[in-house]
Symmetry: C2
């Protein structure tokens, strides 16, 4: 079954009763953060309670709400302050800064929870007729403004929460495919597949609080995407509810019957319709799994190793190379959280071999025991040849064990005057260094210019024959007078650097509202025209997720 | 350099001075064909010469031709009967039947050979302004009517031959990518890559007479697609000339910046614009290559083996399973062409183990020597466990050596009253048998109903985790009174069977004119609407390749 809504944190990550476990070492950990940011003390900056949030006056009349209830069920059309606030924004830093200050830009007039494709079609038709904007909402974990409540001049605004559509409809064990309702959360989906011995293999950091439909709509990528493919590659066929009715693609393994419209559905971000069902590729559960780590003398030598391992086309599940800043920051963080003599000894040893600013590479393997063994041997040889120093299984296993917990760390940081945001891109191998330097430099420069210098961390986490993703995390002392302006300056600087230095504006977070201004430069005028044409055809009244994906002037 | 036009056969396959080599065993080979079809004799049915073809009166005036010459060059706008006939149709059975009878449905008023993207943009703008239809034409090897000259009510018709755009623009050895002008033929492309130690790995049967742009536009697939991916998967970024100017996609390795428009370009079949340049993934030349074959007792056991090998995710280059009819037909053909005592002994042995209707599976490996050895061991184990009998390297090596020559066999067949056509589809593994039976039965039934029963051969040649392609060849005594009606009856029956039994109307030949009527049922009304919207936006006057891809009423 789906998650109870009232168990969720409306203005932060995940479950309301869960926090990041600091193992009682709060003081040590916060000292590391404080010192890294050069702050003399961490201020107390708590969030306002829900009843201090001034939600916009609802604009839908009772008759329309009754109509929605008739099309679904009375208990599935909700207008409480909690539901409206929970569905007002996603989970980006920008979202949380506003929610925690009680300043939500807008909120849906109502939240509707359809059960099944037919109900979604009926709701969209009613909304189109009444000129009511619709924001499709799965787990709501977007970090780019993809689920922000924007009415854009429409007569009303409804958020359509898909999470009660969570059934497994078919599992074809011969064809290794499964058809799910698209509102199913990650853990429920994997549990249903595991019962029969399968996995989808899609494990984004948001896994516990995101849905199949959201992964596809935003073209997400999981931590084992090298092995299983990103969301767009997992998709074989979809059923989409649009304001004009059902649009579906058939799950053929390959086809030359014109363009592949699955790739128009993947990445459509709710602007063309609501993905209600999806047929996806599944894999037998891996028999074996292993994580090993290497240290490299420099970012360049690590990147070179990652490229060589990738281009050797080994069936590796995860390749994750942190730059020196990220290696150092998380090294200090982990040492504070779980101190050990071994760490000190290891760091001394590194100094002795001249690794002044080491970069850690984690390599993950999944598959048959034989394949994991063989792949590990090949990867080890390539990493060693490129100058990698083997440092065992500890860092990788620790990462794997806690890989869904990091988002819980953001809320206590925000409580202490510390900001943290992430953004990502991809580019060709020959352009990686140039883009890496441009983006880290741009973020660092913007934070410094605002008078609150921070740390900028980067890693590679999804690799391809022709290039790689680059993921950036920046941690900074919050400007308590103008937190939004501070964030926007850093975000704009990073986006400009990406756009001007050969990167895509997003590798796996999506476009949403945050990246919409950069879609024009990336796709060009005719690329935007093609998307606009598709939208106008399927959504003539423009009610689907206004303000997302397309450039602001076209939305 | 590109191929000289006058070296090409205007009404048949390939080079005018080359024919299928029968090793002087013409009588034996034709006896096999005649007996397989139950014909008492093979009639003489030669093609008419070019000067017996009544080409439609050109409709473009001299002033417009002068304008095209000014935009390109005087010697690159041609109106000779040879050029017009060569560019009137593609290379399908239906095309050749008409060309050989001197009955071409229409022909372009002129053929223009632009050199470079800017010239194509200028030509398209001029044609849009003058309401002149444009058929983009690469190698012209379409077997689905993809390059047929159709003016569809426009004031004139120009075929735009891309083959003088054949430069390698960039090779990035770090990122394993290459950017080519899209009119380059297969052999020239591979030669340019081989000079630097790389391959694209795209080897369709049409390889010698098809172009990079054509492969992408039709979503083609090569014989090693299991290893290198079909054309749509090779594409990283494209430059497209449209009537509204340049449309380009950037070659990011992965992106979540909205839908992936490369997948709208791949499969667009010249209806949205002309692909002028493409950036594609390349691979280091394989160090080793191997082909081995197995015999299976039945189609079902062979299919099961192919599925298990595929789902084991081994890096295999080619898996090609022939059904019993195809195994028998080509077995007899090869025995006539290259007789050997070994064949007779082998067939006796098979009878002895109860393989009454054996199906041959050819498995191809490419990669490092170590990977080929390891993969071969794993594949052997899986094939043997599924009941496969190892029969050595002979059949595979013979297939590889002659893999581009089979199309040359069609012309002498047509000279002798024998027809041959092919079509293909794909479906999920759980539906393979049902679709296989439906399509072979439909073709066989249609040929019988027409009074000229033939043989229907089938094979699997491109496999995926979730399913496989199915390729059908049918050979039949031509109905000399109504060859087009005979072909259409068989084609319609096959297309209906595919559409009604869970197949895609094409796995890698494309849509063209032949499959356009089946696109509506396959994509659904809203799927067709989306494509129509894209076309109307990029090609407002509807000049680009009319009659292709979209359903007839929408074209």
């Amino acid at each position: 079954m789906t998650r109870r809504r009232d168990a969720l944190r409306w203005n932060g990550w995940g479950l309301a009763d869960k926090t990041f476990d600091l193992h009682g070492r709060d003081e040590e950990v916060w000292t590391v953060v404080r010192e890294a940011l050069g702050m003399s003390a961490l201020p107390s900056t708590p969030a306002v309670p829900l009843d201090a949030v001034a939600l916009a006056e609802p604009q839908l009349d009772g008759a329309f709400l009754e109509r929605l209830r008739a099309l679904t069920a009375p208990e599935r059309v909700l207008t409480s302050a909690f539901e409206r606030a929970l569905h007002a924004v996603g989970k980006s830093y920008y979202d949380l800064v506003r929610a925690r200050a009680g300043e939500l830009p807008d909120a849906p007039d109502a939240v509707v929870y359809p059960e099944g494709h037919a109900e979604v079609v009926a709701v969209l038709a009613a909304c189109a007729e009444a000129d009511v904007a619709v924001v499709p909402f799965g787990g709501g974990s977007s970090v780019v403004g993809g689920v922000e409540a924007r009415r854009a001049g429409h007569a009303g605004l409804v958020t359509l929460d898909t999470t009660r559509m969570d059934r497994l409809l078919e599992l074809d064990e011969t064809s290794h495919t499964a058809t799910f309702e698209a509102g199913i959360y990650g853990p429920a989906l994997e549990a249903k597949l595991a019962e029969r011995g399968y996995t989808l293999g899609h494990f984004p950091q948001s896994f516990e609080f995101s849905t199949l439909g959201g992964w596809i709509a935003a073209r997400g990528a999981g931590q084992q995407s090298n092995r299983y493919g990103a969301a767009a590659k997992l998709l074989l066929g979809a059923r989409v509810a649009t304001p004009r009715g059902e649009w579906r693609t058939q799950p053929f393994p390959g086809s030359a019957a014109g363009p592949d419209l699955n790739h128009l559905i993947a990445g459509s971000e709710g602007c063309l319709g609501v993905i209600t069902e999806a047929t996806v590729k599944i894999h037998p559960l891996a028999e074996a799994r292993d994580f090993v780590s290497f240290l490299f003398r420099s970012w360049e030598s690590g990147t070179d190793a990652v490229r060589r391992i990738t281009q050797a086309e080994l069936p590796i599940a995860t390749l994750r190379l942190s730059d020196a800043e990220e290696t150092r920051f998380y090294g200090a963080f982990n040492a504070a959280l779980r101190p050990s003599k071994v760490q000190e000894v290891a760091l001394d040893a590194l100094g002795a071999v001249g690794f002044d600013a080491p970069c850690v590479l984690m390599v993950g393997f999944e598959g048959s025991a034989a394949s994991v063994r063989a792949t590990w041997r090949s990867a080890f040889a390539l990493a060693a040849r490129a100058g990698g120093l083997y440092v065992g299984r500890g860092p990788g296993n620790r990462w794997y064990e806690h890989r869904f917990e990091m988002p819980y760390l953001r809320d206590p940081m925000l409580d202490r005057g510390v900001g943290i945001d992430t953004l990502e891109t991809s580019t060709s191998w020959s352009n990686v260094d140039r883009l890496y330097r441009a983006v880290t430099g741009a973020i660092r420069g913007a934070l410094e210019a605002g008078g609150h210098p921070g740390v900028v961390l980067a890693h590679i986490s999804h690799t391809y024959l022709s290039g790689t993703s680059l993921y950036f995390t920046f941690v900074f002392p919050r400007d308590l007078d103008d937190p939004v302006g501070q964030w926007r300056a850093a975000k704009d600087a990073a986006s400009r650097a990406i756009s001007e230095h050969g990167g895509t504006i997003s590798h796996h977070h999506g476009v949403g509202t945050d990246h919409a201004p950069w879609i024009g430069p990336e796709l060009g005028a005719l690329g935007v025209d093609v998307l606009t044409a598709a939208k106008e055809r399927l959504d003539p009244s423009g009610i689907m997720n206004p303000g997302k994906l397309l450039p602001p002037t076209r939305a």
